[in-house]
């Protein structure tokens, strides 16, 4: 079974978020919340700026009144190739695996919060309290995802439980993974199919093709983090020159 080992590490998971398709509906946020056992952000948690959402839709305004346009951009962990969060962790809880994922190992994490301070995208969240759910939601939790206890850091995992499960399924059926077979919770929930997930190392995959699109850009490029999440800029038919992203 050496093929398994050879296969492991040859992939590089990446994501494309097409901002032109994003309507800001927050379905991805909700799907992520349900998939990954994220505690409910109650009012007092949000007030103290301690809410947890692995993916968030940021809204900003473009243009001057009365030609104002609402723009949306979903922001999740960018799974940077040069991740600023990784070298600062004293216990190697945050590390880069050979499939291009920035992995958070919950049982190593001691809660120094250095990584959250180092992250320029603000996508790492600290559990200040033990997560609680109302009794009615107890049986809705995903059994494939660890419930993070108090005092550890968490972030988007690119739905690694789905990656593992689907790869396992393909292997047990004795075939290669197909492109688009793995769906993260957010990409499955996106009503306009604006989020695409796949293998960036496979030149035939959708993400590899979209990566070289002329609208493609990455967030905070000047920091040299080399994210694996690539955005496609919004097309504005009324405005020339806006095809290049502003970020």
């Amino acid at each position: 079974m050496t093929t398994d080992v050879e296969k492991f590490g040859t992939r590089n998971w990446g994501m494309i978020a097409d901002l032109d398709k994003c309507t800001g509906c927050q379905a991805c946020v909700l799907a992520c919340q349900a998939e990954n056992n994220i505690p409910i952000n109650t009012e007092d948690r949000v007030e103290r700026a301690r809410s947890i959402s692995w993916i968030r839709v940021e809204r900003y305004w473009e243009g001057d009144f009365p030609d104002t346009k609402a723009r949306f951009i979903p922001i999740m962990c960018q799974h940077c190739e040069n991740a600023p969060c990784e070298p600062v962790c004293p216990v190697y809880a945050s590390y880069h695996n050979s499939e291009g994922l920035n992995v958070q190992v919950y049982n190593r994490c001691v809660g120094t919060r250095y990584c959250a301070n180092a992250c320029p995208y603000i996508v790492r969240f600290f559990n200040y309290w033990d997560p609680v759910w109302p009794e009615s939601l107890r049986n809705h939790l995903n059994p494939d995802v660890t419930i993070r206890s108090r005092g550890i850091m968490e972030k988007c995992s690119f739905c690694i439980q789905r990656i593992n499960r689907t790869s396992r399924k393909a292997k047990s059926e004795g075939r290669e993974l197909e492109d688009g077979e793995i769906q993260t919770a957010c990409s499955a929930a996106c009503g306009t199919h604006g989020i695409v997930f796949g293998d960036l190392n496979d030149p035939e995959s959708r993400v590899s093709k979209l990566r070289n699109h002329k609208r493609a850009f990455t967030l905070l490029e000047q920091f040299g983090t080399d994210p694996n999440v690539i955005y496609l800029a919004k097309i504005d038919p009324n405005k020339k020159g806006s095809e290049e992203g502003h970020h």
């Binding site: 079974m1 050496t2 398994d4 695996n97 994922l101 992995v103 399924k169 047990s172």
Partner: protein, 271 residues
């Protein structure tokens, strides 16, 4: 005269015979060990009995032995299975004394059936009852224990009506008694450490394809998925009461993953 003197000298020398010095010089300790304080003779104004002088060191020895016992327990539990004392046994009394021998073994048993004939194990495949174990589903993570009705499919008919253990099952399945059905609270024997996502299916698939890596022997069927279970679970088919054979610690997982070329990335198991 000289001879006598010599003899005398020799005798006197042998009389003052000294032990030869050790070839090795023991190095002096870099710190001076403090002298133990003299045992207390008075507690306030009350004079303590002299027997206390003997009791105190005995008490100290007992304390040392106690601490040592706890220490050795922790160390053995850290590296392998804990010493089976004080509820740390690897086996439990189950609500029903379910004998795996009768169901899974293919050998002759100590049991006798109603007619007095010596029973031979049924030799059922493990996956006949633990159905999800080689399925790639979310529930396949655990080798599930079948619902009561599944047992009752056979035991509604098979087995004596006076069998106490079987009647517990029949009662739970609602065949006898009038309190309806109720699940049986089996106690879990094999429990992995926390934070591990273990799925049986890929392990069974790999070992079935590479039978040279299977460890242990089984009294049960040795073909199909059942042949590989003994690698981690031991010879379950020979157990009256199932107990944990392997410590199932991370070291064991990682060793086996390394030997067999499986990924040792953290996210393989911890996510």
């Amino acid at each position: 005269m000289d001879l006598e003197n010599k003899n005398k000298d020799h005798k006197s020398k042998s009389g003052n015979f000294k032990l030869p010095k050790l070839p090795i010089k023991l190095p002096k300790l870099p710190i001076k060990l403090p002298k133990p304080p003299p045992p207390p003779t008075h507690l306030g104004d009350v004079e303590l009995p002299k027997t206390l002088m003997y009791l105190l060191p005995i008490g100290g020895l007992f304390t040392l032995a106690f601490v040592g016992a706890i220490g050795s327990f922790i160390i053995t539990a850290w590296w392998g299975q804990p010493i089976p004392v004080l509820g740390f046994e690897q086996t439990f009394d189950q609500p029903i004394n379910f004998p795996h021998t009768v169901h899974a073994s293919t050998k002759q048993l100590d049991y006798k059936d109603a007619d007095g004939n010596v029973m031979v194990g049924l030799g059922t495949d493990c996956t006949f009852c633990h159905r999800t174990v080689n399925k790639n589903t979310a529930a396949g993570a655990n080798a599930y224990i079948p619902p009561v009705n599944f047992c009752a499919n056979c035991h509604g008919v098979i087995g004596s009506e006076d069998n106490v253990q079987l009647n517990i099952l029949r009662d739970a399945a609602g065949i006898i008694g009038d309190d309806g059905t109720s699940p049986i609270n089996w106690r879990r024997v094999h429990r992995l450490p926390d934070h591990v996502r273990f799925v049986h299916e890929p392990h069974i698939r790999y070992l079935s394809a590479n039978p040279e890596h299977i460890k242990g022997e089984t009294d049960g069927v040795s073909t199909g998925p059942s042949a590989v279970c003994s690698t981690c679970h031991g010879n379950v088919a020979s157990m009256e009461k199932v107990y944990q054979v392997e410590p199932l610690k991370m070291r064991q997982c990682v060793d086996c993953h390394r030997d067999n070329g499986a990924p040792t990335d953290c996210a393989t198991c911890h996510h």
